[in-house]
């Protein structure tokens, strides 16, 4: 049990402008599940990608079962029985499960023995109750199923050491529980697991030992039984973390947004909003709770002018803004934190300054006589960076190099700086670490206290319960019920989210 199977000594890795891993020591014992805990950008994925041969360390040594190894590429990693399940799945979605498993196999000739491979896939699939058809195309599978294909890939290659990089980030709570069962079964079979996460509850549930990383350095390695959640949070963030937020009493003002019997269609041509109606008032956070795919995204797009309403009205302070252009709507005071910060919110290859002025580039003081004043633009960006404490490698580095939390801060800073009347935030903290999540939520509360109307759309019920003043539960494009926070009960909301209850009673 105490045999050390992986040992990394003094691993250092530089990226342009960042020291991602700074002399990291890490060890994995046979048969244990060792969690790497750290905020986004702490260097967890970098360290694991080094073990998997994707990145090469600038300094440091790796030992597998006591033998020094040089892992040049993922193939070497496999030869050393290391299998990694990446944060972003390494699957080719136009290929079948079988073809993905066969990808890169060196043991065979030119032809693929589909029968043999499919038999092995089915054996693995049966053993762990995966229920995966080897001939399905990847794009036909749910995210949870895709993750199981990733696990099959590593087991097929006889991996003894499994690395899972934030596997639960894409799963529902139920799917996470299923995954943990699988991991426990793998442990019983003598495999060793490195598990990456920044969710404290699950870390406390599943780990044997925990190594905490912060800013590329190891803070410490602890046994789970010796620590508490609060202690881990402090190690990870470097200070005390609040698990609940302080909220000032509600000071509701006049009606800012009125949505009246709004209807819209999704990309597949189905009606995604069905005569949805609700109002948001100044000084309150109106939370929309619901299971993914019940019209949340369409709702935000329709209000902000990114999607056509086929019926109904959106009214902002008595002005009809239905189907106005996104720019007109924004200029009237509706600002937007979209669900996908790198696809809609920011332009990945532009730098911080350019992204910071996306809303204000065409007016004074940034544009004068039709020309952009780059100095003014940079000053503007720097003021946002200072105010929101955004960490950027360099101000002229593409914004895609920022960590998720810092991207989101930049996005929020840019939108709030417009002094909106209504802020629509969709999944504002998805994929963010504890520190950034807390920061974003506090900012939303602060703006609420200043009288802003906030429409918060989130699939994280805890988040909705933590910050909202009123909660509307959305189900199949309709609001089931609006509940004041004082009357909100988790169970009741959960049932409404599943569609139990007749609409609007």
């Amino acid at each position: 049990m105490d045999e050390i199977i992986v040992q990394a000594k003094g691993i250092t890795k530089y990226f342009p402008g960042v020291l991602a891993n700074n002399h990291i020591d890490f060890e994995l014992k046979k048969g244990e599940i060792h969690t790497l805990l750290g905020e986004n950008g702490a260097g967890k994925s970098t360290l694991m990608n080094i073990l998997d041969g994707i990145y090469h360390p600038d300094e440091g040594e790796i030992y597998i079962k006591g033998k020094k190894v040089h892992i040049q590429n993922p193939f070497d990693a496999m030869a050393n029985s290391i299998g990694m399940i990446h944060q972003h799945f390494m699957l080719v979605d136009t290929l079948t499960v079988l073809e993905n498993v066969a990808l890169g196999l060196k043991s065979q000739g030119l032809y693929i023995d589909k029968k043999e491979i499919s038999k092995q896939i089915e054996t693995i699939s049966k053993k762990y109750h995966f229920n995966i058809n080897p001939y399905s195309k990847i794009w036909q599978l749910s995210v949870g199923e895709q993750q199981r294909v990733e696990i099959i890939k590593t087991l097929f290659r006889k991996a003894e050491i499994l690395i899972l990089d934030e596997p639960t980030a894409v799963l529902t709570p139920q799917e996470s529980e299923d995954l943990f069962k699988i991991l426990n079964q793998l442990l019983k079979e003598g495999k060793s697991i490195i598990f990456i996460s920044h969710k404290l509850d699950e870390v406390m549930e599943i780990s044997d030992r925990i190594t905490v990383l912060r800013k590329g350095k190891v803070v410490g390695t602890v046994h789970k039984k010796d620590v508490t959640k609060g202690y881990l949070a402090k190690m990870m963030v470097g200070r005390e973390v609040l698990f609940s937020l302080e909220r000032k009493p509600l000071k509701r003002r006049g009606e800012v947004l009125k949505v009246k019997e709004l209807e819209a269609y999704n990309d597949k041509g189905f009606k995604a909003l069905k005569k949805i109606s609700f109002s948001v008032f100044g000084g309150e956070i109106f939370g929309i709770a619901g299971i993914s795919g019940n019209g949340q995204k369409i709702l935000a797009q329709t209000i902000t002018g990114l999607r056509r309403a086929t019926r109904g009205k959106t009214i902002l302070n008595d002005a009809d803004i239905t189907n106005a252009s996104p720019k007109v709507i924004a200029n009237k005071g509706v600002n937007y934190i979209p669900p996908d910060r790198l696809k809609v919110g920011l332009i990945p290859n532009l730098d911080t300054t350019e992204n910071a002025i996306l809303r204000s580039y065409d007016r004074e003081p940034i544009t004068k006589r039709n020309f952009i004043d780059h100095q003014k633009a940079a000053e503007y960006a720097k003021s946002l960076i200072r105010k929101f404490n955004i960490m950027v490698p360099r101000i002229d580095a593409p914004v895609k190099l920022l960590s998720g939390g810092n991207m989101q801060k930049l996005l929020l800073a840019r939108e709030i700086a417009e002094r909106p009347k209504l802020l629509i935030a969709v999944h504002p903290t998805r994929g963010l670490d504890v520190g950034a999540t807390e920061f974003i939520r506090k900012q939303l509360l602060k703006e609420r206290d200043n009288g802003l109307a906030v429409l918060l759309i989130s699939e994280d019920l805890d988040e909705i319960l933590m910050v909202s003043d009123r909660i509307g539960v959305i189900y199949e494009g309709q609001i089931m019920k609006v509940i004041n926070i004082e009357d909100a009960e988790r169970n009741k909301i959960g049932l409404l989210m599943a569609g139990v209850n007749s609409p609007k009673n």
Binding site: F15, D52, I54, Y55, N73, P74, F75, M78, M84, H86, F89, M90, L91, V92, D93, T94, L95, E99, N100, A102, L103, G104, L105, K106, Q108, G109, L110, Y111, I112, K153, K400, L401
Partner: protein, 313 residues
């Protein structure tokens, strides 16, 4: 149908197959390069380089088969310039491809001056396949051809098998669809892309050489007449599938053959209008193909034209 009409139709279709073969090789080659993630707009340049070397070697050695092989290799070597720029240097593939086309057209025009209007003493001849060539209608159209045409039939089949049934096929599809995933699975993405870009060059060279050693058997400046661009369009029309490429290539070959036949029969339609046809049809076919591709969600390989670097975010 009377006897002469049938025999004219057979001649027309047999010419169609040969004219289509000129397009078939480059289209197959580009399908594989694109499937691996490399967009090569240098096809026109590589075809004419193949055509030129094919002609010169056939002329000087009086061996058209040697000419064909050398023309093919010349196309392959030319493609390595593009491979180096787009894979190793991670340059812009559109620019590099266009440069290759201009280079090919320019260099063959310069060195080709003194070969203009020379005719090959010895060209590639048709060899009827015993048995098969006796099948009425089909026989004389498809099986009274030369060895290179027979080679192209086999090639289509083999390439289809490689693409869908073998490991190299999966590797190249993965390299063009999700290079990072392919890399993480131990596929050498850049080597894969080099190989298939080179293959694309060989095929473009083969198409060009076939044009001068079997189809036209003379040299003319700009003899390819934009066939490389038609091949680029055919790749989309074929939806990156080698068997569809055969259909598309023969379709265009048919128009080319028809136009020759019309000109030979002394039609009153101006020849410049006639020779415009393939390009008009290119437009129409691209529009139709794009609509089909969109309706069936069968896009180009996802990472087509995107260079891959492992440590890049």
């Amino acid at each position: 149908m009377n006897v002469t009409a049938t025999s004219i139709l057979i001649t027309l279709l047999a010419t169609t197959v040969r004219s289509g073969t000129i397009l078939l090789f480059p289209t197959i080659g580009e399908i594989f390069a694109e499937r691996a993630g490399i967009l090569n707009l240098g096809i026109e340049g590589m075809i004419i380089i193949g055509a030129f070397f094919g002609f010169v070697v056939s002329y000087t050695t009086q061996n058209p088969y040697l000419g064909f092989v050398v023309g093919m290799l010349a196309g392959g070597i030319a493609s390595l310039i593009h491979a180096f720029i787009s894979i190793t240097l991670r340059g812009n593939q559109v620019v590099s491809g266009l440069a290759l086309t201009i280079f090919g057209l320019g260099i063959t025009s310069f060195y080709g001056q003194k070969w203009i209007n020379n005719k090959l003493p010895e060209s590639i001849h048709a060899v009827a396949i015993p048995g098969l060539s006796k099948i009425p209608f089909i026989g004389p159209v498809f099986f009274k051809q030369d060895y290179i045409v027979y080679f192209s039939y086999i090639l289509v089949l083999v390439m289809w098998l490689i693409l869908y049934k073998t490991k190299p096929g999966i590797h190249l599809r993965a390299a063009g669809q999700n290079a990072r995933a392919a890399d993480a699975m131990g596929v050498n993405v850049n080597a894969t892309r080099y190989f298939w870009t080179f293959f694309g060059g060989l095929m473009a060279g083969a198409g060009g050489a076939y044009l001068t050693v079997a189809y036209a058997t003379f040299w003319l400046e700009g003899i390819t007449a934009g066939r490389g661009w038609i091949a680029v369009a055919l790749v989309i029309f074929a939806m990156w599938n080698p068997v569809n490429a055969l259909i598309g290539a023969y379709l265009f070959g048919g128009i080319d053959a028809l136009q020759f036949q019309l000109q030979a029969s002394g039609t009153t339609i101006p020849s410049s209008l006639l020779s415009m046809q393939p390009y008009l049809l290119t437009f129409i076919i691209i529009i139709i193909a794009t609509l089909i591709v969109r309706a069936r969600h069968l896009g180009a390989p996802k990472e087509l034209g995107t260079p891959y670097a492992r440590e890049e975010k």
